[in-house]
């Protein structure tokens, strides 16, 4: 196993070191496919295999034949079966220790595989690593060529598991994972037709942490105006999109989950009626943390109960059972670490996207097993809370005659509502706050917020870039230049070079500014990638190997 960067050596020929599989599925884009393939063959890491699938559409055999290389496997299929099917078909043939992906109109920079491989090798506790990508805004010319107008790193977000449960923040093309993780997380879900990458990424995060390396290792293209990307077109069907979204959010890969503590949502209902059924649907659409939903039903109710809500566990109760008895019966079936019990009839605000998570997250993040975190919308008459399951069980067992709230109080369990500062996504709240400051023209204040975020919330390269831009807008030109120069020393991008150029121009240093503009233009025109090999040592984190949730693959051993 390689853990020391000094032993990380690039083999000169294929066949040495870990094998990396690159998957590409192509459909009706022969013009760009050649560039995509070419970008793989230009990799500094030579030990890779490419599995290219033609998922129907225009023939690409002419393109493929340009690359006479044994590392390329071509699956030529006339029928269009969709991206998840194509990737699964290709995955069945992979031999690589690691897998990464490339869109048929995207490009890797030459250091893509080597950077990600080195990162994951130096940090063996991680099973997934991802870098940053340029989003290349382009205008498609009549002859099909793309004229790039801008290149922005729009997503450069450190891994946040809670955020990954809610939405994706690791672009698939930027990601490399260990192949063996798919045995646990499962393959692509072929019932989905949009957000399929997030679905897999989300499932992977049950089994490993992700490592974010803020190095730009490729680019994907976004035509200005109406985009022809299938994923973009499909998002226009709102109902279908929401169906996909909710399916993904409620997908539970097989256990055990080394990186995620499970939760149970238990509904304290005395009867099945329309309001209860609506409540179950509302919970489904207003929660994203993995859960199973327990609902008490009599034998008669169970016969007529039909619901589309996933992960639902009906628990048989008798009509005369009290709420405490019903809770007890449901708890006997709960196998999750954490339980959220909700009274029937509690109101779920339509615009609340983390109804349960606001109370669950403070417990999870601090592993607080001796605290009940009350649901924000609940009160003494409709009491609900999140709590460690064993703690709840003990309280209910010790005080069977009391309702849950009284039982918890009698057992001496502190009960309180979560404070706003304990909610998930504090980073995003601060980010929104800073952006509001910008909209109000309070640039100095925005810069201070970004500075604070860089110090306390990670994402340093991204936040420092934002800070420098805010300082520039506020007229603090020298400070802006200093701040962004630090960023450009390790990761120059088009935007960061432009910020420095503008600051230097304001500092009456037009010649320096012109040089920075030239560098930015070089990246924009594709003459350079902006990659600084020496800076990789700074940007690739180095973690100590500890309780690895997943053992590194054996084939990672090489020198």
């Amino acid at each position: 196993m390689i853990t020391d960067k000094k032993t990380f050596q690039r083999p000169r020929v294929p066949g040495c070191g870990p094998l990396v599989t690159v998957l590409i599925s192509t459909y009706n884009r022969p013009a760009y496919l050649a560039e995509a393939l070419d970008s793989i063959f230009r990799q500094t890491w030579p030990n890779f295999e490419i599995i290219l699938t033609r998922d129907g559409g225009l023939p690409v055999r002419d393109v493929v034949s340009q690359f006479n290389d044994s590392r390329l496997t071509f699956i030529d299929r006339d029928q269009n079966r969709g991206l998840p099917y194509s990737f699964n078909e290709a995955l069945a043939r992979t031999k690589g220790d690691y897998v990464c992906y490339l869109g048929d109109d995207d490009k890797f920079f030459p250091h893509h595989i080597e950077t990600l491989l080195r990162s994951i090798s130096q940090n063996p506790d991680y099973g997934v690593v991802y870098g940053d990508l340029y989003k290349a805004h382009c205008r498609v010319l009549p002859d099909g060529r793309r004229r790039v107008l801008a290149k922005n790193v729009e997503i450069s977000r450190d891994f946040d598991r809670m955020l990954m449960f809610q939405f994706n923040h690791a672009l698939h093309v930027s990601l490399m994972h260990r192949r063996d993780l798919l045995d646990k997380a499962g393959r692509y879900n072929e019932s989905l037709n949009v957000l399929i990458d997030w679905d897999l990424t989300r499932r992977l995060c049950f089994f490993t942490d992700f490592l974010h390396v803020p190095i730009v290792t490729g680019e994907y293209y976004a035509p200005v105006g109406d985009c022809d990307r299938i994923s973009v077109q499909r998002r226009k069907n709102v109902n279908d999109y929401i169906r996909n979204l909710l399916t993904i959010r409620t997908t539970r890969p097989p256990k055990p989950w080394p990186c995620v503590e499970d939760s149970a949502i238990v509904v304290l209902a005395s009867r099945l009626d329309g309001a209860l059924e609506q409540m179950l649907r509302d919970i489904w659409s207003h929660s994203f943390y993995p859960y199973r939903l327990f609902v008490p039903l009599t034998a008669q109710e169970r016969q007529r109960f039909q619901s589309c809500v996933p992960n639902l566990v009906p628990v048989e109760v008798r009509p005369e059972d009290s709420l405490s008895v019903r809770l007890n019966k449901m708890l006997q079936q709960v196998d999750a670490d954490w339980t959220v019990f909700l009274p029937a009839g509690i109101s779920i605000p339509p615009d609340e996207a983390m109804f349960v998570e606001r109370s669950l997250y403070p417990l999870l993040s601090g592993h607080q097993t001796h605290l009940a975190c009350q649901i924000v919308e609940s009160d003494d008459t409709h009491f609900g809370a999140a709590i460690y399951t064993d703690t709840l069980r003990k309280a209910i067992t010790r005080h069977p005659a009391l309702d849950p709230q009284q039982a918890l109080m009698a057992a001496g369990i502190p009960i309180r509502k979560p404070e706003f500062k304990e909610y998930p996504f504090q980073f995003d709240n601060l980010l929104s706050g800073a952006e509001m400051c910008q909209l109000d023209g309070q640039w100095t204040r925005a810069a201070r917020v970004y500075d604070y975020m860089a110090e306390h919330h990670g994402n340093a390269v991204w936040m420092r870039t934002r800070q420098a831009n805010a300082l520039l807008q506020a007229g603090h030109y020298a400070h802006a230049a200093r701040t962004i120069a630090e960023v450009n020393r390790i990761r120059p991008t088009v935007a960061s070079l432009m910020i420095q150029a503008r600051a230097e121009k304001k500092n009456n240093r037009p010649q320096i500014a012109a040089g920075l503009y030239r560098q930015a233009a070089g990246i924009l025109d594709g003459q350079s990638t902006g990659y600084l090999p020496a800076a990789a040592d700074i940007l690739i984190p180095k973690t100590q190997s500890n309780t690895a949730s997943v053992q590194p693959v054996e084939t990672c051993v090489w020198t």
């Binding site: 805004h137 790039v148 107008l149 801008a150 290149k151 922005n152 790193v153 729009e154 450069s156 200005v224 952006e435 910008q438 909209l439 991204w462 870039t465 934002r466 831009n469 807008q473 088009v494 935007a495 960061s496 432009m498 910020i499 150029a501 503008r502 121009k505 037009p510 010649q511 500014a513 012109a514 503009y517 030239r518 930015a520 233009a521 924009l524």
Partner: protein, 205 residues
């Protein structure tokens, strides 16, 4: 090209190519490399044919090289593309000023300032033309407006003090000059003018 799409954050927006060549052109123009500057402005104009910026840049470097006819054409194109372009009006005013067409220059500077009261080039141009014409009332108004936004701009404060003296309002001139000296105690021009102002007697109201 819709430049309003450029948002407040650096990781969005899609006119970087235009922005880079245009701003690089400005840098070259500043250091006097007019060939490189012109090349940049031409590329910028091709990337964004509806933008006034490249023509403004072309006009400025033509003006700096004394090519008044070329400059005038460029500024007029810029103005046609953007009727609210204060800088193009100021450019045309500078040409009129160089041609000693004081009234025309005065009117163009005024129009420029109506569009952008913050345009320092127009403000100082208006001051210079006013001195030539001996007509100060309007320029005093604009200088005061500008100073409300930039209260510590001592160059503009000095212009205003000069005009107050010409308008025989030495008390006002003295106040401003003292403010300048509070900000810049070693400002010799302000010291000399203050000495002159101290010897003036205000006209009775």
């Amino acid at each position: 090209m819709d430049l309003t799409r450029q948002t407040a954050v650096p990781d969005h927006g899609w006119t970087q190519h235009y922005d880079i060549v245009q701003e690089m052109g400005d840098c070259y123009a500043t250091v006097g490399d007019y060939v490189q500057a012109q090349d940049c402005y031409e590329r910028a104009a091709m990337l964004a044919p509806d933008e006034a910026g490249p023509y403004m840049g072309t006009g400025v470097i033509a003006l700096q090289q004394g090519k008044l006819a070329d400059a005038e054409i460029a500024f007029r194109v810029a103005l046609r593309l953007d009727a609210q372009c204060s800088k193009a009006l100021a450019g045309l005013a500078m040409i009129a000023q160089q041609q000693k067409n004081w009234q025309n220059a005065f009117d163009l500077y005024l129009k420029s300032l109506e569009l952008d009261g913050d345009n320092l080039t127009a403000l100082l141009g208006l001051f210079q033309v006013s001195c030539q014409m001996g007509s100060f009332a309007r320029v005093i108004e604009y200088l005061n407006t500008y100073l409300n936004l930039h209260p510590a701009d001592t160059a503009v404060m000095f212009c205003l003090a000069t005009l107050y003296l010409k308008e025989r309002q030495p008390d006002r001139a003295r106040r401003i000059l003292k403010d300048i000296l509070a900000l810049e105690p070693n400002n010799t021009d302000a010291k000399n003018l203050l000495e002159e102002a101290e010897n003036r007697i205000p006209i009775p109201a």
